[in-house]
């Protein structure tokens, strides 16, 4: 009976926190790269500055946060904590941080650094995928959330595989790859890794923390496997589409878009029926995320109906801003504003059980007002970034907004983490050694 009941071994605080505290600064780096690239960088999504900024955001900010959240969530939703949380978090964090920085620098004109980044990133994700899969496998918990986490990890493996091929081609170790391969890499990353994980986590987080009715069981059961099947179909059809047979590719693409829109529309409908009156920054970020997802779906459909639109260089940039900035980043930032103060609070409590009366509230650890300001900074970033996709000279404004929003987030989270030290009572070490608070017997 020893399986699947190990959530009492919640991961040590530093395991998820190091990822959360690092993530915002990659947003700042992305802003700097975009400003450095200037309007010319937005000519297409293949320019060095766009590639570097995109990966700083998707790896450094999104994946960084999602990995930290995953480490925390595995024990809560699946009763399956990582077996060696310290070691896994350490390896993944160092490799992901270094690998992302090197990759971005490599894109900016240092192919040698790009080559060096590849083994680091592959190591980071391989260690994460293997150890998370191991915990999920031994867990006795079943249900749509653990299943979605497993499928998203599979999609991550595919994304990394495509990325590795593209990276080797980019740095000249492989012949230049097909265009369709370069398209599949971001699709698997956005829809498979980020989209499926977001959906799986939403099944739990939205009903419980926003007090909405539960998601319909039919949706939670079929959405993640359906999206993954559609992605597989899309990948199989891609080489044929490149040769002119575009119907299967279009159908699979429509299935992907329909799945994402279904998730977004259902979430918004549920949020409309929530039983808690109070709004908070996380809720606002979630709404922006879902609205962007619907916007991206609508935009994609429009481009299918009017192929001229789909061929314009602005189209992938706009779709990218909606999916990456509007959907994924909004969810991730909103989550950070809830999870970081709570982890800090939990840690303070564990460290000083006898002093529970002196514990600060979550509001004291990270005031909601800071989150509300971040909502506005994030909206400003989104609007200016959408503008810059159509009018490249706006890129300076967009990078300024992104820089401001990222610095604000970074400082907010760092201040929340600092509560750990300022609130430490002098004898905290002794209290900790005494172990968990004694259970009433």
């Amino acid at each position: 009976m020893a399986d699947g009941l190990a959530f009492h071994q919640a991961p040590p605080l530093s395991a998820p926190l190091r990822f959360f505290l690092t993530a915002p600064w990659f947003g700042l780096a992305a802003a700097a790269v975009l400003a450095w690239g200037g309007p010319a960088a937005l000519a297409s999504r293949w320019t060095p500055a766009t590639l570097a900024a995109t990966h700083l955001l998707t790896l450094g900010m999104l994946s960084m946060t999602m990995v930290g959240a995953l480490i925390q969530l595995l024990s809560v939703v699946a009763g399956a904590p990582l077996r060696h949380p310290h070691r896994v978090a350490g390896i993944v964090h160092v490799c992901l941080t270094l690998g992302t920085a090197l990759l971005a620098t490599g894109f900016l004109g240092f192919p040698l650094l790009l080559t060096a980044a590849l083994p680091l990133l592959v190591t980071a994700f391989a260690v994460l995928i293997v150890s998370a899969a191991q915990s999920l496998w031994t867990s006795s918990a079943s249900g749509p959330t653990p299943a979605a986490i497993g499928l998203s990890l599979f999609a991550l493996a595919v994304t990394v595989g495509f990325g590795l091929l593209l990276g080797l081609a980019y740095s000249g170790h492989l012949p230049a790859s097909q265009r369709w391969l370069a398209d599949l890499h971001p699709t698997w990353g956005m829809v498979g890794w980020i989209g499926i994980l977001a959906a799986g986590v939403s099944y739990q987080v939205v009903p419980m923390f926003q007090m909405t009715p539960p998601y319909p069981p039919r949706l939670t059961r079929w959405l993640a496997p359906g999206l993954l099947t559609a992605l597989a179909g899309l990948s199989a059809a891609a080489p044929f589409a490149a040769e002119g047979l575009s119907l299967p590719f279009g159908l699979a693409g429509a299935a992907v878009a329909a799945g994402l829109v279904l998730y977004g529309a259902t979430t918004l409908a549920l949020q409309h029926r929530r039983r808690r009156s109070r709004s908070n920054p996380q809720f606002a970020f979630f709404r922006i995320g879902m609205a962007s997802l619907l916007g991206a779906g609508g935009f994609w459909a429009t481009a299918q109906a009017f192929p001229n639109l789909g061929q314009r260089p602005e189209y992938p940039l706009l779709l990218g801003v909606l999916m990456l900035g509007g959907f994924a980043l909004s969810l991730v930032i909103g989550m950070l504003y809830k999870i970081v103060p709570f982890l800090v609070w939990l840690h303070l409590r564990q460290r000083a059980p006898k002093l529970a009366r002196l514990l600060p509230t979550l509001e004291r650890i990270l005031p909601e007002a800071r989150g509300r300001i971040n909502v506005r900074a994030h909206l400003a970033t989104l609007i200016t970034a959408l503008g810059a996709a159509m009018m490249p000279s706006l890129v300076y404004l967009a990078s300024l907004a992104l820089a401001a929003a990222s610095v604000w987030l970074g400082i907010s989270l760092a201040q929340a983490a600092r509560t750990l030290h300022s609130a430490t009572p002098p004898n905290a070490g002794k209290v900790k050694d005494a172990g968990e608070p004694s259970a009433p017997g």
Partner: protein, 151 residues
């Protein structure tokens, strides 16, 4: 076919959530109603915690943490749950203080903290612990789920 621990206690979690949300909503407009709703919530939550601590956990602890024994379990999953119950009780006491002092702002900050603590606690119970309890109880053909003392 009798009911399951998961079904009964999950439904009661939602019931407690509703009461707390009502108290929170009333805090802005009607302090008297807020006080009244809070007390109903507090009593419901206390009943819930006691049903777990006094009925459910002792029934499964011999299987979950056989080494430590049913009452002295340290480090097992139920001991984490018991510790979090104590955290909730600590917050309840602070909330009572803010009710007495008619401190609406302090009340709302504490409600948010309690709410997050409750939800992550409930998530662990509903996803992992309750299904596990059901499996253990099914093995021993226990009817405990039907006799849980909940209003």
């Amino acid at each position: 076919m009798h009911t399951t621990v998961t079904a009964r206690l999950t439904a009661h979690h939602r019931h407690c959530d509703d009461l707390l949300a009502e108290a929170e909503r009333a805090a802005k407009q009607n302090w008297e109603r807020c006080t009244e709703r809070f007390k109903t919530f507090r009593d419901s939550l206390e009943t819930h915690l006691q049903a777990e601590e006094q009925q459910l956990f002792p029934a499964v602890e011999p299987v979950l943490s056989p080494v430590e024994g049913p009452t002295l379990s340290t480090g097992g999953p139920t001991s984490v749950m018991r510790a979090e119950h104590e955290d909730m009780r600590g917050l309840l006491r602070l909330l009572e203080g803010s009710i007495e002092a008619a401190d609406a702002e302090g009340f709302q900050g504490l409600v948010e903290t309690l709410f997050i603590l409750m939800q992550q606690h409930n998530m662990k119970e509903e996803n992992v612990l309750y299904p596990l309890c059901d499996r253990i109880l099914q093995g021993s053909r226990s009817m405990l789920a039907d006799t849980l003392k909940l209003p």
